[in-house]
Symmetry: C2
Subunit: 494 residues, 2 copies
């Protein structure tokens, strides 16, 4: 397993305005030992230190090995070996990130893994790929999850005071604009467009308990509907120009037989054919939950690499409000009857049955269960995948708009494991499902919309994109008092 990451002088580009490079390095420094192997012909050690100091990165780097220290420049491996010796690290636990053939050859000669980056590119991208091969997409994302940027937030806040409106009069739009700046690290922040909705779909063994009036086959039928573009999420995504990608992480019905093979918007990543019945035992193994979480993180990377500037969580899975209620109860400590709701619509007797199922599953859960154990015992494949998706989105510093109760359960699991995700999250709306409100309350999230919706699919999150987009446009397009030649009044004191 990688414990140590060495960079060629590429690292120093973090001190230049390469988007996100400095934030990637700050995140990695929390979990990895970092070093630089610099060739004097390119940059002296002093130049490297000065450049790093300019962005406050000096302390993150434990060692700077210069070719002059070892008497040989790359492709000679001595610089790398020197750095590893100083850090007390073995070649097998090291990654070298460089941008030249000489860097690659030096790494090979030193017996360390190599990742290729480019001078004008955030080295975090290459590091993510290498870490994904080493520890999986979720852990790689977790390692690259950086704090939001307080300087950009302050910049947006000051910017809003200069715009032609009374201070604070745009309410939540101003707060969202500041959050977008803090997430992206720039003011004005990029518009959250194009956005991408990821619908993770899976089946649930717990449907055997009669927790929903809908047959299990509707999961697959709705996936076919998504792919055909006829569902509510398709309509709302088209409204805002968002893409819709459906990821099968465990549908129990044979999609091939339904004729939805190979549709471009459907990714086949089934971990298993639906979960086991969580009323009778664990829904899945820990390994399966981990795989689902990795898939979610991987999808976030794919969508961001394809150009998405905002990600929306979506879900489809007959029976999944039962699993979501159980996850929410486990991670908030709320009682089963507080967080269990009617889902797509069950009668009173059905609700009692559903609540009993959730209560019984919770009693079997170890009291000190970690988030992954909770997901595997009482969760769902799409919930685990969504947890990974949320951490993945945050690690890419794009806003992630969380939809309703199923996405909310995933958010709780993501947050319990990586609390740093929260500033990247926008609660799209308040679902009428009681579990959704339990999540919002627990995390202190104020939803953008409250429209009495309870459909899932990402519909509430997608609808909130309109408001997020407006918030960003305010920072892009409004005139300042100075440009409009108006003398602003200091509202607070006059």
């Amino acid at each position: 397993m990688i414990t140590t990451i060495l960079f060629g002088t590429t690292l120093v580009h973090a001190a230049r305005p390469v988007d996100g490079a400095a934030r990637s390095l700050r995140a990695l420094a929390g979990r990895y030992r970092l070093g630089v192997v610099a060739d004097a012909a390119v940059m002296t050690g002093t130049q490297v230190r000065d450049a790093l100091a300019a962005t406050g990165l000096t302390d993150l780097v434990e060692v700077i090995a210069r070719s002059s220290d070892v008497g040989a420049a790359k492709p000679d491996p001595h610089g790398i070996r020197h750095a590893l010796a100083q850090l007390g690290a073995e070649p097998g636990e090291a990654l070298f990130v460089g941008d030249t053939t000489a860097d690659d050859e030096a790494a090979q000669a030193a017996g360390v893994r190599f990742a290729y980056t480019q001078p004008d590119r955030d080295p975090g991208i290459a590091v993510r790929a290498a870490l994904t091969l080493d520890v999986g997409a979720y852990a790689a994302a977790a390692a690259l999850l950086a704090p939001i940027d307080p300087a950009a937030a302050a910049g947006a806040r000051a910017h809003l005071e200069r715009l032609t409106k009374p201070s604070g009069s745009l309410g939540r739009l101003e707060i969202l604009g500041i959050q977008l700046a803090a997430i992206s690290g720039v003011d004005p922040p990029p518009l959250p467009s194009p956005a991408a909705v990821a619908i993770f779909a899976a089946d649930h063994g717990v449907v055997a308990e009669g927790v929903t009036p809908w047959p299990r086959e509707v999961t697959a039928a709705m996936v076919a509907n998504f792919v055909a573009g006829g569902a509510a999420i398709n309509v709302l995504a088209r409204q805002v120009g968002a893409t819709v990608t459906v990821i099968d992480v465990g549908i129990a019905t044979d999609l091939d037989a339904m004729g939805v093979i190979g549709a471009p918007a459907l990714l086949r990543r089934a971990v298993r054919a639906g979960t086991a019945n969580l009323a009778a035992g664990p829904a899945m193994s820990l390994a399966e939950a981990r795989i689902a979480r990795d898939i979610g993180a991987e999808i976030a990377t794919t969508l961001v690499s394809a150009g998405a500037r905002a990600l929306v969580t979506g879900d489809m899975g007959i029976g999944n409000t039962t699993a979501a209620a159980a996850v929410i109860a486990a991670l908030t400590g709320q009682a089963a009857d507080t967080v269990t709701g009617r889902g797509t619509g069950i009668d009173d007797e059905g609700l009692r049955r559903k609540t009993d199922v959730v209560g019984a599953a919770l009693r079997r859960l170890p009291s000190d269960a970690d988030p992954l154990t909770v997901l595997s015992h009482v969760g769902g494949l799409e919930i685990a995948a969504l947890a990974g998706f949320i951490v993945g989105a945050a690690s890419h510093r794009v806003p992630v708009i969380v939809d309703g109760v199923v996405s909310g359960a995933a958010l709780l699991a993501a947050h319990a494991d990586r609390p740093d995700v929260l500033p990247y999250v926008i609660a799209g709306h308040r679902s009428t499902e009681p579990g959704a409100t339990a999540v919002l309350d627990r995390l202190g999230l104020d939803p953008v919309l409250d429209l009495g919706m309870r459909l899932g699919e990402g519909t509430g999150g997608c609808l909130a994109l309109n408001i997020l987009d407006a918030a960003a446009r305010i920072l892009h397009d409004m005139a300042t008092f100075e440009a409009a030649r108006i003398t602003p009044v200091n509202d607070a004191t006059s």
Copy 2:
């Protein structure tokens, strides 16, 4: 003054699918006596009756005069005279609506006013123009204000049950979709696009009381900002493809001197150079309030004629939250300190002063004041114009999205005079101004958004257009269960 409206066989087109014709006639029948003057060569009396009966309009028409009754066809005036005699009406109080030269000549010979319509067109359009010349744009709009269409609402409700989602799961989107169908009379309803924001701008003499920290000149400066496209409302309107039209109904600063002459998005309709100080006496005369209201109704017609499918109320006027609070207090019976807020932002002392001003103005208001008297005594020119605009929009059967506290005051005045406007209204958002909530509570309106905004200009209303548009798109674009080959579950009973 017109009391009687006669139609050529054009009226019968109301029985054909001419958009809105039947609803125009139903509205007019509440205030005018209606008759038909038919030439037997075109249509017999029986054919006319049968055609009217097919859409339930028969009872609205008090007389059908046939050329065979009087022995002469148009352009001979005998048919018109015969109809008037049966109704006991004088030529001077009659309007004849026809679509031929013979109709026009017959009307002239009979000494009645004439309005030209076309066979494939709602005759309400011609009637509105004639009534505007007779009694003003506001009264004309009030006469054409029809109930919403319950059949279209029922159609949309049934349609929503067939779409691929659990019943009711789209919450407010479904309710808005049904409302849009009821307003337009068709399902799916037209998308509320393009929309038009009308910003009525005026100054307020009450600024002399120190009710706001902003100088009066900022009204004009912000109008210049609107015309230049730099204000928040411009940004939000561009987001949804809405037009912005600014109407000066009483700005006290010389706009010409500011160089905003003749800008196409600025209409000059100043009734007077700002109101008088409502703390010292009536803000304006009854006649001025009436003119402002007519201007608002006229602008609604202009925007709808130019293609707007939804109208948004906007306002600009330094000092106008004071006038709005007074109107709201007068029309809801709430106390001054309940409905008076900080507006653009005043300190505690300023708020006390503002509340005192509102209270004193209310004490001078006659206890039985009608809405126009309230507007003239304690209102503002933009508030009166907005009241007319709201009635105008409703009379065109387009949704009118009402913004914050100033628009809310206007809505109260419109509703007090014409309660039928309410089903056409969508409360865009809940402003933080306390008066805004008083309006919502009084009228039982549930705002679409609640984002802590208090800017006015129409910003909250414009932002809500996104949600309204989504509601319409759901009805346009979603697949039915049948098309998706899914068997729906009856949620209510299973």
